[in-house]
């Protein structure tokens, strides 16, 4: 120790003359740009998926219904819930912001909030207005910072060159590893379930894929959808359009994961997993039409112990899935397995039996406790433009049926398709294959009324059609099927579409006749919609039933104005497999309730 040790501490005195270092106005100091302060939520963007609630380890988030506030609605894709944050619990970790599926949740850099009532420190950001709602700064999820993978695992598929000259199935199916990775992306929010017409337990079966528990997954599938193998391949997948993951990335490949489960379980095991039907009830139900709606009704009722007879005009069951969807999308054996499974529940099939010709409705009414009419939409609509009655102008449904029936169609060298929906794509792509096989080249023009951004067909279908060299023209309105004096069809003349609907939203296309095109084609195929062949009902029944714009009027359970008759599927809901399945369930529930009521009456 030295004198220096006594003197040098006096250096502290120099601080006496320094300016104070404290901030002048600490109460108004703005926090840094990334500061994690009170939450903000873009209420319009948020879908109420609750992923923030799931990740918060403090239990600081509750999802509360706010339907009706500021345009928040309970509807497909939006649960109508919004997160409420409890600042007695929040630790400002921002995991909720990091995991938010829509990017709606963020944090402002506000950090001061004084309140006498402790219960006030709980609010729904974006709904309960706060002064920091529009603070510019605060924590936002940094670009590229994700806690779940935004990109979908690609499905192995045949390349256009490999697939174009055959009807081989295009989609290969996920491997176990691919499926696991894809299933891993799902956040188990359940937003999709509300959108699925038949409300399949999607997050649960996706969890089953993740865990590799395929048998549990299969049980979940078949308890909600007896067409799971088929839907796993061709479902219109409404669920994926609302999937929470679609907001900031690709939606989960829900359909492919369903398909994966059905592929992983050996078919021989299906029956044991689904379980035995209930003991026979002694009731009998007749179902007309073996499509998805009819067969779903049959499956449900048979499992409940009712005797079911299905009457089918064709030689095979499956309805439009069998006769309307090309084989490259849905191979026959998939349909056959599905039907076998349903039949194994004790359903009796009557093929090649046409109502009106082979058996009458009156007869069915007499023999059964209830009758279901599910005959689908088998008559193609016509544009009725001049020349559309020419022999080489076809309806897409008829052609598809002939192809699926195994007929060796002679494809024309060139062809025009009218329509922009999935059926139009189906017939274009089927004929493209036949052209490739028979002529070695493809010449198909598809003209749709809608513009590209409003196409009715699945975007994947459009993409694949283009890959298969189908020429797709949008906003073209058919004017005439052109016929020469030798009665040969020359092609289709179209005008550019101005608008499709009038100001009242009614279908009334208007055209720009200055923009005319002629599309050459030996054939013209109309794929603009279908109708039901209700003539089979006979005059008497037709007279008795209530109708609504050409469709049989049914209540919400599918019951017609005749108490013994239900109607289900495409003929009441419009064309879609999974809607038909949902309808089948509804109808089966209603019939079961009706039959149970009959039992009660008898016992009373």
């Amino acid at each position: 120790m030295s004198v220096r040790d006594v003197l040098s501490p006096f250096a502290a005195w120099k601080h006496l003359f320094r300016d104070p270092v404290s901030i002048k106005d600490p109460f108004n100091r703005e926090a840094s740009e990334r500061y994690r302060g009170f939450h903000q939520n873009d209420i319009e963007k948020c879908i109420g998926c609750g992923t923030c609630e799931a990740i918060c380890q403090n239990g600081a988030i509750d999802m509360l219904p706010v339907s009706g506030v500021d345009g928040v609605q309970t509807r497909p894709g939006d649960s109508g819930l919004r997160p409420r944050i409890d600042y007695g619990r929040c630790c400002w970790c921002a995991l909720c912001v990091d995991v938010c599926m829509t990017g709606s949740l963020s944090m402002s850099n506000a950090y001061k909030w004084v309140e006498a009532d402790p219960d006030k420190f709980r609010y729904i950001p974006g709904v309960d207005k706060k002064h920091w709602d529009d603070y510019e700064h605060g924590y936002r999820r940094p670009e590229g910072h994700r806690l779940n993978a935004p990109e979908r695992i690609e499905m192995p598929e045949l390349e256009p060159g490999e697939r174009i000259d055959s009807f081989a199935e295009i989609v290969g199916g996920y491997s176990v590893e691919q499926a696991r990775l894809e299933a891993d992306r799902c956040v188990t929010c359940g937003i999709c379930v509300a959108t699925c017409p038949t409300h399949m337990p999607i997050p649960e079966y996706i969890s089953a894929v993740r865990d590799g528990d395929y048998e549990a997954g299969l049980k979940l599938l078949y308890d909600s959808n007896p067409f799971s193998q088929i839907c796993g391949k061709i479902c219109t997948r409404r669920c994926e359009t609302t999937c929470a993951a679609s907001h900031e990335g690709d939606p989960i490949a829900i359909r492919w994961l369903k398909r994966h489960i059905t592929e992983q379980v050996p078919f021989e095991r299906y029956r044991a997993i689904i379980g035995e039907p209930a003991a026979a009830t002694g009731h009998s139900v007749a179902i007309v039409g073996a499509g998805p709606a009819g067969m779903t009704t049959a499956f449900d009722l048979a499992r409940l112990g009712h005797k079911v007879h299905v009457y089918e005009a064709q030689s095979h069951a499956g309805g439009m899935t069998r006769y309307g969807i090309p084989e490259y999308r849905l191979p026959f054996d998939t349909i056959q397995r599905e039907i076998d499974l349903i039949v194994s529940m004790g359903v009796e099939m009557h093929y090649n039996t046409r109502i009106g010709a082979d058996i009458s409705m009156a007869q069915l009414q007499q023999d059964h406790d209830a009758v279901v009419l599910s005959i689908g939409l088998w008559l193609g609509r016509s544009t009725r433009v001049p020349g559309s009655d020419h022999r080489n102008v076809y309806k897409a449904v008829d052609l598809l049926r002939r192809i699926r029936d195994g007929e060796q169609l002679q494809a024309p060298k060139s062809m025009v398709v009218i329509g922009g929906g999935n059926v139009a794509m189906d017939i274009a792509r089927s004929m493209a294959r036949l052209q490739q096989q028979q002529h070695g080249q493809i010449a198909i023009t598809l003209t749709a009324l809608e513009d590209k951004s409003h196409f009715l067909a699945d975007p994947v279908e459009i993409k694949e059609s283009i890959e298969e060299q189908v020429t797709i023209l949008d906003s073209r309105g058919p004017q005439e099927c052109m016929v020469d004096d030798q009665d040969n069809l020359l092609g289709l003349r179209t005008w550019r579409v101005h608008s499709i609907f009038d100001e009242n939203g009614r279908f009334a296309p208007s055209y720009d006749d200055g923009d005319e095109m002629v599309h050459e084609g030996e054939w013209v195929v109309e794929a603009i919609g279908q109708m039901s062949d209700v003539a089979i009902l006979g005059d008497e029944l037709t007279e008795k039933l209530d109708w609504n714009r050409g469709r049989i009027q049914v209540d919400e359970d599918g019951r017609t104005s005749e108490s013994w008759l239900w109607s289900a599927g495409d003929m009441v809901r419009g064309p879609d497999v999974v809607h038909a399945v949902a309808d089948g369930h509804r109808t089966a529930r209603s019939i079961h309730a009706h039959l149970s009521a009959l039992d009660k009456q008898e016992n009373a």
């Binding site: 120790m1 250096a11 990334r34 500061y35 990740i55 380890q57 403090n58 630790c91 779940n148 993978a149």
Partner: protein
């Protein structure tokens, strides 16, 4: 069982040969220092038996701060543990974030982007600076020098500003998460950091004059709480306490982690092994951290990602395994022992904080024969943070 004393006789006849204290003799007095006492860092207490103003025996008591972190983590998913861990050590939370993330990454097989490792190193050194600044204030305060604490708190505040702009928070940064770090450096960060470092250096110069060249501090700290170098291995002593005893132990150079291999550093040592030497080692280590921060900013890559692609964290399962990940924090070796069992939750997490050995075993040994007025100074000279004792 003979190893343990018969509690009915406590504290007489302890098998380790400690003194036989007869309280009824009137010669001894029992005193409690803490759990709330200005000279105690955090909440722990020392049960002192004194004779006159000299301590004849001291027993440490902890448990006042127990929040059960390790157990909590067994009920949290791997991502949910991330916001918890920083709370295990308030003044230097980042080691918990780093060790936890590194353990998870190792067992899950996650490759962290290069740049994230540099940013992690930067954060850990920033945290070390803060921890030492807090210590210096506390150490001086324990010997009655209030002004040092005011200066170092100011310097620390500047560093907290840097933390705030980088991580979005001042104390609990929650920035190093499994897979990398949350974000890149903000614009203009280097320059503001340089200003902060200069301010810290000038504060330290003043601290050096007023504290380290202060006769009072020297008189009280020199010779106080001498740690025999032989105890270093015996007691598991690490960090500045070991280095002040001449044992050049520093995980950063012994088993370089993150990017320490690419930085120039030399463990700071001293030989006197008393409270003064420990304070001085920390002061010089602080200056080294300042230098390391400069090195990191000068050498780190400026392009590339800072976060690896993680599997969906909501149902992240990690295969069965176990690992121990360590780093050199301002108090010594900090480590996480993590056991996973293939489920979505850690099977066991054990946090090894250096305070455990320093504040419990070592203190009880050093405290004998110390004057009561120096107990606080001695305790602080071991630089302990009770929260990391009670995980």
């Amino acid at each position: 069982m003979a190893e343990y004393p018969d509690r009915s006789q406590y504290p007489a006849h302890l098998p380790d040969g400690s003194c036989d204290i007869d309280l009824s003799s009137g010669k001894y007095l029992k005193l409690w220092q803490g759990p709330n006492h200005p000279g105690i860092t955090g909440n722990m207490s020392v049960e002192l038996t004194v004779c006159g103003d000299e301590v004849v025996e001291g027993r440490t008591h902890v448990g006042y701060l127990h929040r059960g972190f390790e157990k909590l983590m067994e009920r949290r998913t791997f991502i949910q543990c991330f916001p918890i861990v920083c709370r295990i050590c308030v003044p230097e939370p980042d080691f918990n974030e780093y060790c936890y993330a590194a353990a998870v990454e190792e067992l899950a097989g996650v490759e962290v982007p290069e740049k994230a490792n540099w940013i992690r190193t930067l954060i850990l050194e920033m945290g070390r600076v803060n921890s030492y600044l807090m210590y210096l204030g506390g150490q001086a305060g324990a010997f009655g020098q209030g002004v040092i604490g005011q200066w170092t708190t100011y310097a620390r505040d500047l560093m907290l500003d840097r933390f705030e702009e980088l991580t979005g928070a001042r104390i609990y940064h929650m920035f190093i998460l499994p897979g990398g770090v949350r974000d890149d450096l903000p614009e203009g960060f280097d320059q503001r950091m340089e200003e902060t470092l200069r301010e810290i250096e000038s504060t330290l110069a003043d601290v050096h004059d007023t504290m380290f060249r202060n006769a009072v501090f020297k008189k009280r700290a020199m010779g106080l709480g001498r740690v025999d170098p032989a105890w270093v291995d015996e007691y598991g002593v690490t960090g500045p306490v070991a280095r002040a005893a001449g044992v050049a132990k520093d995980v950063r150079s012994d088993q370089p982690y993150l990017v320490y291999r690419e930085l120039d550093l030399e463990p700071v040592i001293a030989h006197e092994s008393d409270a003064y030497a420990r304070a001085d080692v920390r002061r010089r280590d602080l200056l080294m951290s300042v230098d390391l921060i400069r090195q990191v900013l000068a050498r780190m890559p400026r392009k590339g990602p800072v976060m690896a692609t993680l599997p969906n964290v909501l149902h992240w399962k990690i295969p069965r395994g176990e690992t121990y990940v360590r780093g050199e924090c301002s108090r010594g070796e900090y480590g996480y022992y993590l056991v996973t069992d293939g489920s979505g939750y850690p099977r066991r997490v054990n946090v090894r904080g250096p305070s455990y050995t320093h504040a419990m075993a070592l203190l009880e040994k050093l405290i004998v024969n110390v004057n009561i007025s120096d107990v606080a100074g001695l305790l602080v000279s071991l630089h302990t943070y009770p929260p990391e004792i009670e995980r």
